[in-house]
Amino acid sequence: MRSDAATTGVITVRVNQRPVRIVNGASVAVAVLAAQSACRISVTGENRAPLCGMGTCFECRVTIDGKAHQRGCQITCIEGMEIRCDE
């Protein structure tokens, strides 16, 4: 479980090894959108990005700090988080 204690200021996370500055409290899905990256590549090779925004469609799943299959829309970014869009 992650918390989003303070919701002011800007933090930096890494999306596919590139630093992305994002408002504190933003979700991982938002960080990936801000990085203009797809969240995942579908089984036939399409780029996919968030659809439902509420944890049911699984389109925004990414690898967070080495843990695969995490729903980006349900997890809040924390400083220094490593997000990989490699699924």
């Binding site: 989003d4 933003a26 968030p50 439902c52 925004g53 049911t56 469609c57």
Partner: protein
């Protein structure tokens, strides 16, 4: 919570939206030990989803405060993956635990209905509530051109919200015809609070054209969305935009209710006057019992909270008000009924199942949801058919009700835990 730990509660509530919060707070007033389990980082559900600016509506603030002052134990960031014999299996990011309950209130809410059309899998084609949730989670839409499309009162609310956050909402495409909307406005007059809300929403998005008899027929773009082709009163035109926020109203989340053996009526969970399901210990409140909006959800949650703590008199005092809001729900259902043209949007090679990339052409060779799943893997991916199952129900009239554990994709270690309990811990 450590792995495999077990706790208990008099009343467990699943889902932290209006119905769940109202149910939990009400049950806790009877000095019962109440646990509220919610998938999100904070309670609020979708309609009261916390924005990062931490602005809450008056309604939401009232209930958040009551929840904070109550003795309800809130367990956020947690998913119920299995439920049977008076026990829930609850998974978090790094643990699995068991929760025994005496009474259970299901307040699992609803999700948006997404319908396939060419290009709907492109990045930046999102749900209407979906885009709002993303903005609440920090997405910057200032100066972005957005087309809001689909059906239902949510479209207006979303458009107003996006405008307030600096987006340029190009137009709202409502698939319902003007004639039914006018009838609906008549019904709304009996709900003064509701109508002023609708007017306010309309005003907030006054620069936006509100089209009726209009729907998206294709999303166009390369790497991501570039424009949307809409059918506007039978005329096709293309609108350049950065986002298409598109949802065709709501689908009840009934997976857990089905797993528990609760009877459904049509696609909704069947309940009696006291919100009690066919499984005596299990109550259900809010959108899973019928799409009715926030006020009705709160009322149903309060009734369930009273009934689950043996306060039937208190529960029955709310019946009249609930009946009033159910009338509005009924009017809403009639007004925003989906037109048959929406069944013809997808072409043979349009994907229906986004998880397994199964096309319409492959799915419609089959005569049932089960057959389509077995032969094409449609509905067999991580979303477990939450998106394409609901679409298939609309497109083909299939019965897509089916639920088995785990209700959400779960870690192998969690499944091992479930399995060891089912088989008497022999592992």
């Amino acid at each position: 919570m450590s792995n495999g730990s077990a706790t208990s509660a008099d009343v467990a509530v699943i889902g932290g939206g209006p119905a769940g919060i109202a149910g939990a707070v009400t049950a806790a007033e009877s000095e019962r030990d109440v646990v509220l389990i919610d998938d999100n980082a904070k309670p609020g559900g979708q309609i009261w989803r916390r924005s990062i600016e931490n602005q809450n509506s008056q309604h939401a603030a009232f209930w958040f405060e009551r929840l904070a002052k109550s003795r309800v134990r809130v367990v956020s960031g947690s998913r119920v993956i299995h439920a049977e014999r008076g026990e829930l299996q609850v998974e978090t990011d790094d643990s699995i635990s068991r929760l025994r309950f005496e009474k259970l209130i299901l307040a699992t809410g609803a999700r948006e209905l997404f319908l396939p059309f060419p290009g709907w899998t492109l990045p930046n084609v999102v749900g209407s509530g979906g885009l709002q949730a993303l903005v609440k989670s920090g997405l910057d839409v200032a100066k972005k051109r957005v087309v809001v499309a689909g059906t239902g009162p949510l479209l207006l609310a979303v458009a107003a919200y996006l405008c307030a956050h600096g987006a340029e909402v190009v137009c709202i495409c409502e698939q319902a015809p003007m004639s039914t909307l006018t009838n609906f406005a008549g019904t709304m007059l009996r709900f003064p609070a509701k109508i002023s809300e609708a007017v306010k929403l309309r005003l907030a998005s006054r620069k936006t054209s509100y089209l009726t008899n209009a729907w998206p027929v294709a999303a166009i773009g390369g790497e991501r969305l570039e424009s949307v082709r809409i059918s506007d009163n039978g005329r096709l035109r293309e609108i350049p935009c950065d986002y298409l926020a598109c949802g065709f109203h709501l689908v009840p989340n009934t997976e857990l209710a089905q797993l528990l053996g609760c009877q459904l009526s049509d696609e909704f969970v069947a309940t009696d006057d006291y919100q009690q399901t066919s499984m005596g210990k299990v109550y259900c409140a809010g959108e899973p019992t019928g799409i009715g909006g926030m006020e009705l959800s709160i009322l149903e949650g309060r009734i369930a909270g009273h009934a689950a703590t043996n306060k039937k008199d208190e529960a029955s005092r709310l019946f009249t008000e609930r009946a009033r809001y159910r009338k509005l729900a009924l009017a809403m259902e009639k007004t925003f009924r989906l037109r048959h043209e929406l069944k013809e949007l997808a072409s043979e090679d349009t994907l229906v199942c986004r998880c397994e990339d199964v096309t319409l052409g492959r799915v419609r060779k089959h005569t049932s949801w089960k057959a389509a799943k077995l032969h094409t893997r449609c509905g067999m991916g991580p979303c477990q058919g939450r998106v394409c199952g609901a679409a298939a129900r609309f497109l083909f009239g299939w019965n897509v009700a089916a639920s088995r554990p785990p209700v959400f994709p779960a870690r192998c270690s969690s499944l091992a835990e479930v399995s060891s309990q089912v088989h008497g811990g022999s592992q």
